[in-house]
């Protein structure tokens, strides 16, 4: 009986690397999406909604629902379930539409 998914798949990943989520270091196994890395760190939400400011994270896992939008390296509205994590990526909680910097 496997204790975790990595054991179930008999995985021996390459060396892990780090990204940060709002400044917190998050370890990543090579080949994981940003959403997968955040889930394995127990982080389920990385955006707040535009109307009610509610927390959201990954929902459909396949790029259809757009709930998992994240700001990565300053660029908002990226589907975290589809974007592969790269060493040193800075993920920050996306507030609403993530374009507050464009407000006039």
């Amino acid at each position: 009986m496997a204790r975790n998914p990595v054991e179930l798949a008999g995985a021996t990943p390459g060396p892990s690397f780090e990204i940060t989520m709002d400044g917190r270091a998050v370890p990543v196994l090579p080949g994981q999406s940003i959403a997968a890395a955040l889930w394995s760190a127990g982080i389920l939400a990385w955006r707040t909604t535009r109307v009610n400011g509610r927390p959201r994270g990954a929902f459909c896992g396949i790029g259809s629902c757009f709930d998992c939008l994240a700001t990565v390296n300053g660029a908002p509205n990226q589907r975290a379930c589809l974007v592969p994590a790269r060493p040193g990526d800075l993920v920050t909680t996306q507030e609403g539409h993530g374009r507050a910097d464009l407000a006039v």
Binding site: A9, P13, G31, W39, G57, G61
Partner: protein
């Protein structure tokens, strides 16, 4: 008026490929290798970084998974398809364009298609591409159907297929104690995978029963493979001490910033929650879904005819050669109605044989093989119809909505707002509800809320009144229409794609 060079007709350019296939899941892969075996030149465009689609989604190479088959049924079939695909890629007969999300297909003249794609994952640096082909095969698959309930937007509530997808590709779980709920056979597979991967699954909750299957003993008897599949999933669950609770649903998820517990209620025949039957189950995640919805926007954009399947979703009308109603456009797999991987493999191969039969550049396909595939296809389609009918949402499910439940996740439109649009403003289809409330107008373009809004809009002014009319599955004015199948960044559009010239159309140039 002097004519500038740009107004001279552009001579026609022959299409680059005999066949373009959108989607590299079971149907697209089976079609690609079959068409290439027969000598056709094939391009496969797929949004993912590796072949397999959702069904054969698997860990990226960097994860070094020695046993990817542990997360799959029928992995050997996929491994064989990939071997054949790689061989054809090696000879140059197949081109597999990964990370290519096709957002529209346009007709260029009578026999050529141009598929336009956004390339690369979201973020800066996305580009665009276009390929032309004589024939087009849509193998676009499906996504999960959701029915909202109070608390379904809490973090930790994820799609059942979503949990499966994240597990298959990222080797991660959304929590340690995961309730699995909704309707359809996928739930059994998901619960089995989650438990095998070390999660505790305190409950598997199925809104329908399994009795619906027994109404069609002949179809069941003709599909021993499908019964065996069900038995395998059932046995796996029993090994983990899991017995699905039927005629029950998660009617509420509890928590403030993430899910901490769910309420499971018994349902009556119409899926209306039975008062007083709610039981609270502690969990740190919920995987929920109600079957799958064919992904049709490219097809409907081209004008392909659709029909309503027994579970209330729309699927493409296909003839026994996998042809859509639009000449030159074929489809295979879930786009023609959700029926599983084996059906998709069968239809992909069959489509390739029938495309080859009318292609000047292909060898002669084996007619006997096509007959055998057609037989398998009808058998599996019959099973798919039984499955769809058995898990069709009951008309009473809106009984578990409270007025403040968000129905549209993107635009945060509540059930109360949708009901007011129907009762007070006279909306009676999803499109009108969208105009009044913005439900379905957000990022996902109604993929998540569409089935629910359809149902609430068709349910008339008193959703609780008449249980004899099946408003949910009689509602709807046709399949969702989405002009673009994915977000297309303006930055990507500003880069000219390598667009082929088209007969009779002037090249687009900027006037000075």
């Amino acid at each position: 008026m002097p004519t500038s060079p740009s107004e001279q007709p552009v001579p026609p350019v022959p299409p680059e490929y005999d066949l373009a296939i959108v989607g590299a899941g079971p149907a697209g892969l089976a079609a690609a290798v079959t068409a290439a075996d027969l000598g056709m030149s094939v391009v496969v465009l797929d949004a993912a970084a590796a072949p397999g689609g959702q069904y054969y989604r698997h860990p990226a190479p960097g994860l070094g998974a020695a046993r990817p088959e542990a997360l799959h049924h029928g992995w050997a079939v996929f491994a064989d398809l990939v071997r054949r695909l790689d061989r054809h890629i090696g000879t140059g007969r197949v081109r597999h364009l990964v990370n290519h999300h096709v957002w529209t297909v346009e007709r260029g003249g009578s026999t050529a298609w141009t598929a336009h794609a956004v390339t690369g994952p979201d973020g800066p640096g996305q580009g665009r591409a276009a390929v032309t082909s004589r024939a087009l095969l849509l193998a676009t698959g499906s996504y999960e159907r959701q029915l909202p309930f109070p608390g379904w937007t809490l973090p930790g509530v994820v799609g059942a297929g979503g949990a499966q997808a994240m597990l298959k590709s990222g080797l991660v779980l959304p929590g340690r104690r995961i309730v699995v709920a909704g309707s359809g056979p996928l739930l059994l597979a998901v619960a089995g995978s989650l438990a095998a991967a070390g999660a505790t699954v305190p409950a598997v909750v199925e809104a329908a029963g399994y009795a619906g299957y027994a109404k069609n003993p002949r179809t069941l008897a003709a599909n021993p493979g499908k019964l065996l599949e069900g038995a395998v999933h059932g046995a796996a669950l029993l090994r983990h001490g899991l017995r699905p609770r039927t005629r029950s649903a998660v009617t509420e998820a509890h928590g403030t910033d993430r899910v901490e517990a769910v309420t499971v209620s018994r349902l009556d025949r119409d899926w209306r929650p039975v008062p007083g039957t709610g039981r609270r189950i502690a969990c740190d995640a919920l995987a929920v879904g109600h079957g799958l919805v064919p992904q049709l926007e490219l097809a409907t954009g081209l004008g392909c005819a659709t029909h309503r399947t027994p579970d209330g979703t729309y699927a493409l009308v296909l003839d026994d050669r996998q042809r859509t109603s639009v000449p030159g456009v074929w489809a295979a797999g879930e786009a023609g109605g959700v029926g599983g991987a084996q059906l998709a493999l069968t239809e992909g191969e069959l489509a390739a044989l029938t495309i080859a039969a009318v292609s000047r550049s292909a060898g002669r396909p084996d007619a006997r093989r096509a007959v055998a595939l057609r037989r398998t296809r009808s058998r599996l389609r019959a099973f798919a119809a039984v499955m769809a009918a058995a898990h069709r949402p009951g008309p009473g499910w809106p009984g578990w909505l409270s007025d403040d439940t968000d129905v549209c996740r993107c635009e945060e439109v509540s059930a109360g707002e949708v009901r007011a649009a129907v009762a007070d403003l006279g909306a009676h289809d999803a499109r009108t509800v969208k105009l009044f409330t913005r439900a379905g107008m957000g990022w996902c373009q109604g993929r998540m809320c569409g089935p629910a809004v359809d149902c609430l809009a068709g349910a008339g002014t008193d959703p609780g009144a008449d249980s004899s009319a099946d408003a949910c599955t009689d509602a709807g004015a046709g399949p969702d229409r989405r002009p673009l199948s994915c977000p297309v960044p303006l930055a990507a559009l500003s880069e000219p794609a390598a667009l082929p010239g088209r007969a009779g159309l002037p090249a687009i140039t900027e006037e000075p």
